[in-house]
């Protein structure tokens, strides 16, 4: 069915190179090897991108279905397990704003959390949330906290002197949404309105749910 056995020399007579061809072949072999070796070096690559993808539900999904609208002066930095939204602000970008969602374990969980914040500034604890300024947020009552002094974040971080904090705790059913702003007193003062607007901008947004007939 197939061809019979054959040696390479018989199959490729041209494999027996003539002297002139050997020189040329040597140069070719050298070029190929040089090319291969240069390909081993780490170098720069370049790509041009013009392709755009259609929007899908992925693009309209948010951490814990919590959607925000940040002011232009804030820049979003990497997400962590404890910071669903994480921003930097100010000229030197040392000001920080972040949003966390924690489980609400017990009726006084929000109060415990507020007192933890006061402890970070070595300030006395409060006994009731009613002493705090209140604002409607996420459709419920949000509690606003302010503090100033040396900030002891804990978890191995160095204390931060002369720091001002604005924070909000929003207890909703089984969770507490917290928003915290930390920075120099001047910069935080300048961002006070932006912080409140940001807290008010938060909304629960869940587009992945199957729409009910009455929603359509």
């Amino acid at each position: 069915m197939y061809f019979r056995r054959s040696s390479l020399a018989r199959v490729f007579p041209a494999a027996r190179l003539r002297p002139g061809f050997r020189g040329w072949g040597g140069s070719l072999l050298f070029s190929v090897l040089a090319g291969l070796l240069s390909g081993c070096d780490p170098g720069d690559r370049e790509a041009t991108v013009t392709g755009r993808r259609d929007l899908v539900l992925w693009d309209r999904s948010f951490p814990n279905n919590l959607k925000d609208q940040a002011p232009e002066g804030w820049r979003r930095v990497p997400w962590t397990q404890m910071r669903y939204y994480n921003y930097r602000f100010g000229d030197s970008e040392e000001g920080e704003v972040w949003v966390s969602v924690i489980p609400r374990q017990g009726a006084d969980a929000a109060l415990l959390n507020v007192n933890r914040w006061y402890n970070q500034f070595r300030l006395p604890e409060i006994v009731t949330l009613e002493d705090l300024k209140q604002e409607p947020m996420l459709g419920v009552t949000g509690y606003l906290v302010e503090a100033e002094g040396a900030y002891h974040a804990g978890m191995g971080a160095d204390p931060r002197p002369e720091t001002r904090m604005l924070a909000a705790a929003i207890p909703i059913s089984s969770i507490i949404v917290t928003i915290k702003m930390i920075g120099s007193p001047v910069e935080v003062e300048a961002q006070q309105e932006a912080f409140l607007d940001y807290c008010r901008s938060l909304e629960f947004f869940e587009e992945a749910r199957i729409p009910k007939p009455e929603d359509e």
Binding site: M1, Y2, F3, D44, V49, R52, L57, S61, E72, R209
Partner: protein
């Protein structure tokens, strides 16, 4: 006399004839099959140590020209040609030797059919290698989804914002640009439609994002951006568990740096982009797995499952879904080994998760788009038919010649 004539004739044969002879030769087929055996043998052993993804890339990818097997971290001094290209050569060999050169007649028709089926099988593999798309769609009961996400392939997405400040269609830096990109290599991404370009550096297939203030003792001089740094992690066997990370420099068209960013894929079911302002406009940058928009929506109406007693291995699961395409709504029931097929896209039930306390169960659908999806099955049918025909005819001939003829009886 006749010997000298034949040697004269062989001298007169052209180079083309010799090339044809080699390419259609039985020797080449044998070499190819031995190489495939060696690659499969070493690939199977190596896969147990480095995982399926890396092994498939190393041995079977189109870009793998040569492979050096490694076992227990030791190099086996046996360079092998990449399996894709061995199959390509075998395909040519089978076509020339098994279809063109073969003696044609009723006696060989079964063998020709079997050869054709093997060529068809290898073509199916090549088509799959070049054009197969694969991803996963995770949906909670009562939710819907219209996209799949690649298990393993990274991509960077750049969202401009529309006038309302909402995300607009993202620009996508496709996975292929990150193939083999090392941490010390730089990838410049030109964006002609945007007022900036990007430079990717420090790309790591498996990394951990650490906050400097909390992990000072782990910091070994890595670049710090926004108080975070990336640390390389050993690549685990399950490629989907490796979390990709990189540094990104936003630069103007003259190459001046505007913003340093750090991107890290964290496996969350929502994008976690970082932002930069360029010329007064906000842009979001996200490192994720490649997102694949589906031509239809899947609504997960109900999902049920069971585990084998005392294990986390699912014994059975089922998903009742509604496929929504424009105004057309169709109900399907997807169970293990009974996928949903739609215009070249196949949805398999790949995973199932029971509800967390107070939560809902969820289904994971593996989604595959492969034009040659069913070709291997057909090629095996054709091979079976060809071989049955061939051996049937042989048996018939054997039985016919074995039976005593009437004449000899008389």
């Amino acid at each position: 006399m006749s010997d000298s004539r034949s040697s004269k004739a062989s001298k007169q044969r052209s180079i083309g004839w010799w090339i044809f002879r080699v390419m259609a030769g039985f020797e080449l087929a044998t070499i190819c099959l031995l190489l495939l055996f060696a690659a499969t043998f070493f690939g199977t052993l190596e896969q147990t140590q480095v995982g399926l993804y890396l092994t498939l890339q190393k041995y079977f990818d189109m870009e793998a020209l040569f492979v050096i097997p490694e076992l227990n971290g030791k190099i086996i001094p046996l360079p092998l040609p990449g399996t894709f290209w061995v199959c390509a050569v075998l395909c040519v060999n089978l076509t020339l030797g098994g279809l063109v050169r073969i003696r044609k007649g009723w006696k060989t028709v079964g063998v020709i059919i079997a050869h054709f089926s093997m060529i068809f099988l290898m073509v199916a593999g090549a088509v799959s290698q070049v054009s197969k798309k694969e991803g996963v769609m995770h949906v909670y009961q009562g939710d819907r989804s219209d996209y799949a996400k690649s298990y393993t392939e990274p991509s960077i997405e750049i969202y401009p914002h529309d006038e309302q400040g909402e995300r607009d269609k993202p620009y996508v830096v496709k996975s292929e640009h990150f193939d083999g990109l090392d941490p010390d290599e730089r990838l410049t991404i030109r964006l002609p439609e945007l007022p900036f370009d990007l430079v990717v550096s420090g790309f790591r297939r498996s990394s951990e994002l650490l906050q400097l203030s909390r992990f000072k003792e782990q910091h070994k001089g890595e670049r710090v951006v926004d108080g975070f740094f990336l640390q390389e992690r050993p690549r685990v066997q399950q490629e989907e568990a490796n979390l990709t990370g990189c540094y990104l420099t936003v630069q103007d068209k003259e190459g001046n740096s505007l913003q340093e960013l750090l991107l890290h894929y964290n496996g969350m079911p929502f994008p976690t982009p970082v932002t930069a302002m360029v010329e007064g406009k906000r842009y979001e940058f996200s490192l994720t797995r490649w997102i694949w928009p589906m031509p239809f929506e899947v609504e997960l109406d109900k999902t049920l499952g069971e585990y084998w007693p005392g294990t986390q291995a699912p014994s059975w699961f089922q998903s009742d879904i509604t496929k929504v395409e424009d105004d057309l709504r169709e109900k399907y029931s997807i169970v293990m080994n009974k996928p949903m097929r739609h215009e070249g896209i196949t949805l398999y039930q790949a995973s199932w998760a029971p509800p967390a306390p107070g939560g809902r169960p969820s289904s994971g659908f593996a989604i595959v788009q492969n034009p040659s999806d069913q070709w291997p099955k057909w090629s095996l049918y054709i091979a079976s038919f060809g071989l049955m025909l061939h051996f049937g005819m042989k048996l018939f001939r054997f039985l016919s010649s074995s039976l005593p003829s009437k004449k000899s009886d008389a």
